[in-house]
Symmetry: D2
Amino acid sequence: MMQPFLAHPFDSDRLHEECGIFGVIGVADAANFVALGLHALQHRGQEAGGIISHDPGTGFNSAHRFGYVRDNFTKQSTMETLPGPLAIGHVRYSTAGTKAAPAIRDVQPFFGEFAMGGCAIAHNGNITNADALRRELIERGSIFQSSSDSECIIHLMARSIQRNIPERMKDALRRIEGAFSVIAMTRTKLIGVRDPLGVRPLVMGRLSDGAYVLASETCALDIVGAELVREIEPGEMVVISKGEVESSRPFGPSTGRFCIFEHVYFSRPDSIIGGRSVYETRRQIGVELAREAPVEADLVCPVPDSGTPAAIGYAHESGIPFGMGIIRNQYVGRTFIEPTEQIRNMGVRLKLNVNRALVKGKRVVLVDDSVVRGTTSRKIKDMILDAGAKEVHFRIASPPTAWPCFYGVDTPERSKLLAANMSTEEMRDWIGVDSLSFVSLDGLYRAAGEAQGRNNSRPQYCDACFSGDYPVAPFDQLQRGFHMKPGSETASATDHAAE
Amino acid sequence: MMQPFLAHPFDSDRLHEECGIFGVIGVADAANFVALGLHALQHRGQEAGGIISHDPGTGFNSAHRFGYVRDNFTKQSTMETLPGPLAIGHVRYSTAGTKAAPAIRDVQPFFGEFAMGGCAIAHNGNITNADALRRELIERGSIFQSSSDSECIIHLMARSIQRNIPERMKDALRRIEGAFSVIAMTRTKLIGVRDPLGVRPLVMGRLSDGAYVLASETCALDIVGAELVREIEPGEMVVISKGEVESSRPFGPSTGRFCIFEHVYFSRPDSIIGGRSVYETRRQIGVELAREAPVEADLVCPVPDSGTPAAIGYAHESGIPFGMGIIRNQYVGRTFIEPTEQIRNMGVRLKLNVNRALVKGKRVVLVDDSVVRGTTSRKIKDMILDAGAKEVHFRIASPPTAWPCFYGVDTPERSKLLAANMSTEEMRDWIGVDSLSFVSLDGLYRAAGEAQGRNNSRPQYCDACFSGDYPVAPFDQLQRGFHMKPGSETASATDHAAE
Amino acid sequence: MMQPFLAHPFDSDRLHEECGIFGVIGVADAANFVALGLHALQHRGQEAGGIISHDPGTGFNSAHRFGYVRDNFTKQSTMETLPGPLAIGHVRYSTAGTKAAPAIRDVQPFFGEFAMGGCAIAHNGNITNADALRRELIERGSIFQSSSDSECIIHLMARSIQRNIPERMKDALRRIEGAFSVIAMTRTKLIGVRDPLGVRPLVMGRLSDGAYVLASETCALDIVGAELVREIEPGEMVVISKGEVESSRPFGPSTGRFCIFEHVYFSRPDSIIGGRSVYETRRQIGVELAREAPVEADLVCPVPDSGTPAAIGYAHESGIPFGMGIIRNQYVGRTFIEPTEQIRNMGVRLKLNVNRALVKGKRVVLVDDSVVRGTTSRKIKDMILDAGAKEVHFRIASPPTAWPCFYGVDTPERSKLLAANMSTEEMRDWIGVDSLSFVSLDGLYRAAGEAQGRNNSRPQYCDACFSGDYPVAPFDQLQRGFHMKPGSETASATDHAAE
Amino acid sequence: MMQPFLAHPFDSDRLHEECGIFGVIGVADAANFVALGLHALQHRGQEAGGIISHDPGTGFNSAHRFGYVRDNFTKQSTMETLPGPLAIGHVRYSTAGTKAAPAIRDVQPFFGEFAMGGCAIAHNGNITNADALRRELIERGSIFQSSSDSECIIHLMARSIQRNIPERMKDALRRIEGAFSVIAMTRTKLIGVRDPLGVRPLVMGRLSDGAYVLASETCALDIVGAELVREIEPGEMVVISKGEVESSRPFGPSTGRFCIFEHVYFSRPDSIIGGRSVYETRRQIGVELAREAPVEADLVCPVPDSGTPAAIGYAHESGIPFGMGIIRNQYVGRTFIEPTEQIRNMGVRLKLNVNRALVKGKRVVLVDDSVVRGTTSRKIKDMILDAGAKEVHFRIASPPTAWPCFYGVDTPERSKLLAANMSTEEMRDWIGVDSLSFVSLDGLYRAAGEAQGRNNSRPQYCDACFSGDYPVAPFDQLQRGFHMKPGSETASATDHAAE
């Protein structure tokens, strides 16, 4: 099965966010808002989506489907089955690692009926001690319905001895290690929580009529016309009910380490993260790159669409003209199903065509967001040279990706990451370009607004995929034999494990 | 039913090409090549597509489907039903005018069994005397299966007294008025023809192994790896068989008047028309616009994606920074089917979001390709101002669209064209922007490579949509009461009608 | 692909009617009546069906679908697309002979737009000179859309020089040889015609409100609550309009020779043919068989369901108890699609199970309607013996089927008909039963109400499949090398061919 | 939604078995056998079906689908996903009582992962204390996924403190009240259990190669070619592994009270129950009826197909001729989806037609299996009289149905049962027939092989639907206010409830 064409034409050679979440309370037909919000978050997960709503008359209702939000959650006939003023939803990326075909019962939100009423949850992130928790829960008599790590949360809640759902959720989340942003709902409450490090994003917005929204990114507030109130803070839980927002801190005081890759690739450029425009960060990465790695050339050309803001920055800073040297086919929005050999082999050409007239005879600076396996960088280079470019200079808007992510991002295993196995010069040689430069880690931090660059003693972001510095020990992975970078400490994880 | 998001976010407010055609001879599994070629031409028609192939063993085989090429013509199981070394295909845009739901029997290529064997044809263009021809053919006993004007061609061929298929085709096309590029096939021949004015495009390519390709645009040669040989000339017919290309001129000598709107919007930017890069023409329109209509501003922002090349040209010529002030949602590639009221009302937000952080407080030059009804220009202006822009200056990369096209392009009737009813200043006021400028007709011709601009006594292009100067009289339309511009002559049409 | 379970469990080893037709005029929502009528005629064709209706507002509308009437023509959403007071329909059996997959454009009714308006036709029967007609029509410039012989009729009508549609239809049908019952409609008229021999059935009914119905069988009148008026006579055309029925005889005087196999197997037992109950004829065949071929036995057991009436007659006449020794599975109403090897091999057991407790130790008379290839007779015998029956005596409710039908019935070629190659004793031996008897041709005629049996000089029925006596020469088949029974004359065919 | 046509044409006015179960161990591709077995048991449940298989390589695999077995579980592509030598399956009837649309997660078999490995179960019957058990389990932290009472079993097993799965199942079933036949599987074992009274059926068969089968009825052994070993006894559990069958009696000694309605209607006539042919029992009921309620008449006619054996018996005993006076349409095997008003109103005619020629002028004995609401008895009487019958005498092959079943059969509430509200004479009058007789309870017992009739002090069967004598107290129903027949005792239930 070929991969769909997402933000990047060779999306199968990118890192992937594994989900987007959205919830709303206090509006008529809340599920319609959730559908719109999930549509705006579709870049965070394309495999499947689900919505659960609550209506005083019919109780909890749900729909879980494979495919795009626009295909599943826009029809009148579907949306009528999801009535009520309170609803949450989830879009999901298919993780590469699972052997089996995707199953509808792995699609969130998950639901559990407790003695005090029902609860639905949608989880973005990854539980690093999920295997151990699952074993323990099964031994106690819980029956798992999915292969998802997120299902642990609902079983932990079912077994909690607390008397109301928000307290049961705190109880459960204190057993969880890893990264999580969670949106949950009861019959009357909308709940949002972020893990103590705030690795995954979560924002709160207000609709004009006083109703509230929780969402992974601000672009999902824009689509429903909600005003950004603020981000949920690392380690914070909010419970929204009857127009009131209650905040608490179930995990004690903590300092955030937000995922810096959200700035590089995951988030939409029109989202605001930590008060900063993602588009502007990306454009500024291009500026940093132009300063760190200048080159004499005739054209700055992005790998569309994710490389565009950095290419604009690079062109502006360097004074080299910006041009669309690669044109994408607008109609590759979906997977080709069981294609013929011949069509499968066309791979690249199905998605892109080089603008030969523009590129021919030129020295081209090609700006891309990241290098993962590197195979697609080679193919793009080939296309540009075939079209008659004189030189190709690759400029990458992120540092070398050398470590897997265990916090809700789908990464190849370490041995398949090009930067884990080669120096930059070896990579340049292997890809076959005239020059290759990555933005520095400090340059990236500066572009993200940290004027002094990375604070190495207390890093402002989670940058484990670049640095190997994991803020939470990946418990299950260590059990399976993963080796961390020598000398790395992850005190916070140990603390959690001690519980 | 909402419109899909094509090259322009408000594609329903654009003019539309009504089809793309592709044919190949001399390769194993020709239908695979046709599928790829049609995929590259998908922007010329998204409603439906069809492929007919011929195999010595099983004869002619066909498949006609609604929807995208990638969804219908990539599966092994479908392509296996289309064997053989010779195949042609067609993608079709749904014309707005028809009252009825689209019918599969209107999907081309059409096929007819004649006494000397079968023939399939794919037609891009419009027959301006189709109503009259249909009446005549029915009176003689022909039974029409479709509502398509193109079906006349195959019935005229069936009734021709000529002894072979190419001669029957010449016979038939001499009765046809209007614009047409046709690709046809017999059991052993691939045929291409363009009308005497060459209004619609048609190019010939060669595959490395000596096999030949005919296609609407060069981007479809690129995808199959074919080398551009040349354009089929206005009034030329080519018959390709056993590796030989025979050329003839069934309509006598003629001078071409190619459709200039192909440069403005229809063709893909990576195609080459008349030896000229479409991307470069569009970029150059931006340069012309910056010269003809300069303005003091802080940001040049395209309406994505069709406005991007002209915006790059405008920014480069004016020195004002270029930026992506409007971000499109990548997942709006298809129509929303029977959406809820609420989702339908979201219209714009489903497709676009303004990059608020970039636009806020700025004087913005917004570059768009054309203005048809003008309603979407207003919506985009609203979005930009809501996001806090200080001024909005619209720059349009084509002259005012004031006349309908009758040559294979779907246009609203004249009364609905904004420029048919208002002066530029009235339009500026109605749209509500600080300034509004269209590139001049001469500026457009210059950008398209005519250094002296338009030759008003013998115009180099068909520009009827801008000028009202129709090179072929629209016979059926005149019968229905259409009034041409006072004083316009269309000698060639009269000649044809006399036959 | 396995065959569905129809009236007989091994329906793939039966002869098949190729279609059922139905039309109605003068009621609101005529298409609903057609759907019901076709549902009642579903046993005459299960592959596909179509309905065309006419409404003064929207003109002619049509729907053609593969599959059962109940699945396609009952939904509100479909039926709403078929408005108006006049409609005709057709159900179709898939003929075994065609190499290609079934195509929707072969599904009737067919439609043609003539200068004086549209016309739709539904044809039951077979045109024995269709190949020759098709060649002639193509040479004159007609373009065929289907592979159906019935399409000739509409092209002949399109070319007729008559001024109204009923006259054009007469003109066309005079060129046709073979068997045909046709229901047609214009904007205002419902038309019914039977060929001069009246081989295929056609009846007229009246609805309580004065509206009229035409149908293949009376069971289709019952379902819509219509009262039987009379059969359309051999060689008669009726034109129904504004509540009036006009009758004419376009082919001159003629004597009917109705298909006797309709009594044996094709028609439903609750239909009335020629004033006679089909059930009663079948029961009476059992009586004749008991007289012609008595046997000492303990149980008379039908092969369900088609053998049941004759088994009841045999049991009653012989005094041997009647019992359901074979039980069919109610849920085999459809084909198994791409089954696994193992499931395909289960063949018989998927459809039937022997009632072991009843059959064990008994001498069983097994009554079946006919023997075609004979393979299934062997399988049924095996099942009965495996269940412990002591003796098996086959009694067949028709004479040996030794000749193919060319009048609208799907028959294997002659070499595959068991009775064309073996004597009755050879068949008994090959099938492996204790005794085997077929009803005599005279016995069959007596059961059908002809007290004197068959009039060999002027046979009352078409019985070509038993006798080899073809009332119309099969022109196309003779061209392809079919050999008729030595000495057979078919004067009527020669007359037609002379036209 | 209209009801499908099952064994009885007005199946919506019958009592319904709620499921059929099947399991096999020791064969290649066990799931294929399960598909065949479920196809043979389709009359026990048509709404949905599921199969779970185990393969040492891929573990447990499952498929659950709405619709018929033949449509879902025959395709190669589906069956390939269910590999392995061990599999169980379930077909399910949709219970009328649930408000919500059917959900795929209510489709069995259910699966649970325990600490010692996975277990799948398929349940036929009804748990009469399910509500109470569910409340208790939720309070302890179990999360229910379905609305099915059967899910309690798997949660009880998950919480059992026993160390292996068969012991956990015994533990769980001792908490269950009501009727149950269960087939379960672990990775290596096939398990079958019947409740102490053996209300629902379960048989064991052996395949020729030593592999074993468990099934609801013997007709499912026939289809896979298995030989009947014996019935699982009331209160017995068998565990089959490595070719060995271990039997135990987890509930202590017990005497069976098998459901007598299985003989009347639920089971297929070709099944053997308790060593007795169901067909023969039904035929014998007809004999008893002819003795108990003779009448002067001309024709004995069954309501097809379920009334046929009793009608044959009645005709034989009375000497009145047997005939098919009602003909069913073979093509009503499925529901009509969203039909038009007109088609819905046709109700009866879509399914049946009266054989007018046979019935006209006759005194008809109409034999039907049971009377539930009685509405359809009236409709059938109307049809027969409309066709010209002189008299109609209804003979019913079961006693009056006056009490609901709580043991796995879908019955209307008591107030809707005709016999709960009227005497036989009142029913005769209301239905509008010349005479009406039900077989007596003793006559039914005699026909079922109990020569002395019912033993009123220790009834041999469960006949609660006729007698109101419930062998297990319906705990949940009593909580909801159901009133049992005054003076009834249900000692066994009390014992269970005491646990």
